[in-house]
């Protein structure tokens, strides 16, 4: 070979060597975590999840028999006006208790996206705007909503009396069948159309009280079921366990790829996600306005601001006579924050566990895929503000991230590792035992 070709050959070799060493060193250093890093990551591990908070409003919250009744009710389409809509219609276990639609459709289309309820037993507020303070109160709202189940409370009580009487009587005070038989066949409820409201008002106080109490008990059974739903460890959790055990780089690389680990570093650092999506469930359950695109500009969704008003008018809170708690024990309701500019357009931070499987995203499913979500956080648009409709300018809780395309992809890869496998033998995820 002559000198020039030798020179070219050496340069190429040198270049290849440089590439190999640079990128292999980079790939390796991504797996280098210090003791302090591992301690920080440990707080996101699923085994750090405490037991569900004490539910003083429902004395049967952790009762196995109540959970079984709740499970049967959850999957029973008979609890609806046309006998075709069950809780599992929109909260399908195989889809991690969501339905893959932008806005769920029961009897009609509802306003919001169906949240994954696998982790909902841990936060103090239910719904995107926090308008229910417990899972049992939450369950009652879709049952009567004309776009969801559409069944009036009087009919729900009649249904349970005819199909679940024995199970109900064993758990709660026995149903007053004689009084139930005096109820009208037509729907009677203070929350539905004017005819139903009229029929409700014509009921005696004794009938109303009995129906409300039985209706609340239906919610309590459903709550007991939801508290039994558990998640399996996700690839992220296995990775953190491996770090805690001090496994070597090869073993770590088998659990999470270099891209996924880079995505994790971005999640905790530059992506700023961990400032709100923290803890074992990747949420702090707080309400924030992140400027998600407004789905209907003619009727803006005011989030927590509306939720607080609904909460005060809700007849099934911890403070109500249908709750098993003493009003002095209801801390969150007693010290409810009712005012503040940060409530306008603020929605509850959802858990990011299983997020890759619960598209579309945001309160009305405005963002179809995770990459769109990441792009929104990367270059956020401020929330829509209409002086006529909003009481004050919505506060904006996020800042632009300046992530590169590659970094966004890595973050996406990381979010995939938060998907827990579904345990096929976990009976709480199955409609029936066979």
């Amino acid at each position: 070979m002559n000198a020039i070709s030798r020179l070219i050959c050496h340069t190429l070799m040198g270049g290849c060597l440089w590439l190999v060493t640079t990128f292999s060193v980079q790939a390796e250093s991504v797996y280098d975590f210090t003791e302090a890093d591992i301690r920080f990551l440990s707080q996101f591990h699923l085994n750090q999840l405490p037991p569900p908070p004490s539910a003083l409003g429902n004395r049967l919250a952790d009762d196995a028999a109540a959970a079984e009744l709740g499970r049967q009710l959850f999957f029973d389409p008979g609890l609806s006006r046309n006998s075709q809509v069950s809780c599992s219609s929109c909260h399908q276990p195989e889809q991690y208790f969501t339905d893959g639609m932008q806005r769920s459709v029961g009897l009609g289309q509802v306003r919001r996206n169906a949240p994954s309820i696998a982790t909902s037993q841990y936060g103090p507020w239910q719904f995107w705007d926090g308008r229910a303070d417990s899972l049992w109160a939450q369950a009652l709202s879709p049952l009567e909503d004309i776009n969801e189940h559409g069944i009036a409370r009087s009919q729900a009580v009649q249904y349970v009396a005819s199909h679940y009487r024995q199970a109900y009587d064993e758990l709660f005070a026995p149903l007053n069948i004689a009084l139930i038989q005096t109820l009208p066949e037509q729907p009677a409820s203070p929350r539905q159309d004017s005819e139903a409201q009229q029929r409700w008002n014509q009921l005696s106080p004794q009938q109303q009280q009995m129906v409300n109490q039985a209706f609340a008990n239906i919610g309590k059974a459903l709550m007991a079921y939801q508290r039994q739903i558990q998640l399996q460890p996700a690839p992220f959790d296995r990775f953190v366990t491996a770090l805690q055990q001090g496994q070597d780089r090869q073993q770590l690389a088998r659990l999470m790829t270099a891209d996924e680990v880079s995505g994790m570093r971005l999640f905790m650092g530059k992506g700023n996600c961990a400032s709100c999506h923290n803890g074992p469930l990747f949420t702090n359950f707080e309400f924030h306005n992140i400027g998600a695109p407004e789905p209907n500009q003619k009727q803006v969704d005011m989030g927590r601001f509306e939720g607080v008003t609904s909460l005060q008018q809700n007849e099934f809170t911890c403070l109500s006579p249908y709750s098993d708690a003493n009003p002095s024990q209801c801390e969150e309701m007693q010290f409810l924050k009712r005012q503040g500019p940060e409530l306008v357009g603020a929605f509850k931070t959802p858990s990011l566990r299983n997020v890759a499987k619960t598209a579309p995203y945001m309160q009305s499913g405005q963002l179809a895929s995770l990459i769109e979500v990441i792009a929104h956080y990367n270059k956020p648009t401020p929330p829509f503000y209409d002086r006529e409709q909003h009481p004050s300018r919505p506060h904006f809780d996020i800042v632009p991230l300046n992530l590169t395309e590659e970094e966004q992809q890595q973050l996406l890869r990381f979010l995939d590792t938060l998907t827990s496998p579904i345990d096929a033998s976990d009976r709480w995820w199955l409609a029936t035992d066979d």
Binding site: D37, R39, F40, R265, G269, E331, F335, V399, L401
Partner: protein
């Protein structure tokens, strides 16, 4: 001669023994009343210093105008005397400025003395209720993560750099990962984090502490209770007051996640504050607006979690 003296001695000893039991309480009330007097003096000094500095600044303005005149008369025969006059005025101005500064320093020294007396007075008269003497601290947890870290930033596109800078991250010692950093607070280095405070118009003095066991520290993300002890300017406990509570984080556009309330008055001047919750670490400002009979005033407690 000796007998009456002995008699007097015995009687006075007796009285002082009896008085000893009440002396502590009375002494502590007197301490607070004394502290109040010092605070009034400190306030008077501060107002005086403001006057002096105002005068000095006005004179500075005049001197600057005269310097312009001085440049105009340069080279003429009146220059020397003119310059001498302006220099004398400048020295006068410097003296006043010095005086004003000294008054201000004296005022803050008196204030510190007074607050120390207040602390002592409260500790003595409410000795079984005061368990926290230092600043309020967060219950230990190694990596408390925050609720968000967006400071107030204008979203207007013309605000330079504010919407193009990335998020603030921190690299704590011993960590290879960056974590979200708390930003936008800029707490002053000498922030007053004392739990013994005075109200704005010196109408009330108060002490606040968390009622958590075993140590009186502040838990994160948990509803807990505080004890508020309120006395008037003379050190007497204030009963039956109406108190409103408000909290926020400077630099962040949000308040407390709950609405704390006074739920009961446990003893004269001792109020139970329930429903306090902090969802993030950082510098919090808790404001208590107190109304009692004809007086109303507000107290501010700073805490850095």
């Amino acid at each position: 001669m000796i007998k009456p003296l002995k008699f007097i001695a015995v009687i006075s000893l007796g009285f002082s023994l009896v008085g000893f039991c009440h002396a502590e309480h009375n002494e502590s009330i007197e301490l607070v009343a004394h502290a109040n007097a010092i605070l009034l003096e400190s306030k008077a000094l501060e107002l005086e210093s403001i006057e002096v500095l105002k005068r000095s600044n006005k004179l500075l303005g005049d001197i600057k105008k005269l310097r312009v005149e001085q440049r105009k008369v340069r080279g003429s025969d009146s220059e020397a005397s003119f310059t001498a006059m302006v220099n004398t005025l400048n020295e006068q101005r410097q003296d006043w400025q010095q005086h004003g500064r000294m008054l201000r320093q004296r005022s803050s020294a008196l204030e510190q003395q007074a607050m120390a007396l207040i602390k002592l007075g409260f500790t003595v008269s409410w000795s079984d209720k005061v368990h926290l003497h230092g600043p309020m601290k967060l219950a230990s947890s190694e990596h408390p993560v925050m609720a968000h870290n967006a400071q107030i930033r204008s979203v207007h596109p013309t605000m330079l750099g504010q919407m193009t800078d990335g998020a603030d991250t921190d690299s704590k010692s011993g960590m290879s990962m960056k974590v979200p950093a708390l930003s936008g607070q800029n707490a002053p280095a000498d922030l007053d984090v004392s739990t013994f405070q005075r109200s704005r118009n010196l109408t009330f003095f108060a002490h606040a502490e968390p009622l958590t066991q075993p140590t009186a520290d502040v838990p994160l993300n948990k509803i807990h209770q505080w004890r508020l002890l309120v006395s008037d300017a003379q050190g007497r406990p204030v009963t039956g007051a109406k108190i409103n509570i408000d909290g926020h984080m400077p630099g962040h556009v949000h308040g407390l996640p709950t609405q704390p309330k006074i739920t009961e008055e446990l003893s004269p001047g001792e109020y139970l504050v329930d429903g306090v919750k902090f969802q993030m670490t950082g510098w919090w400002v808790m404001q208590f607006d107190i109304e009692h009979q004809a007086n109303s005033d507000s107290l501010v407690f700073n805490l850095v979690l």
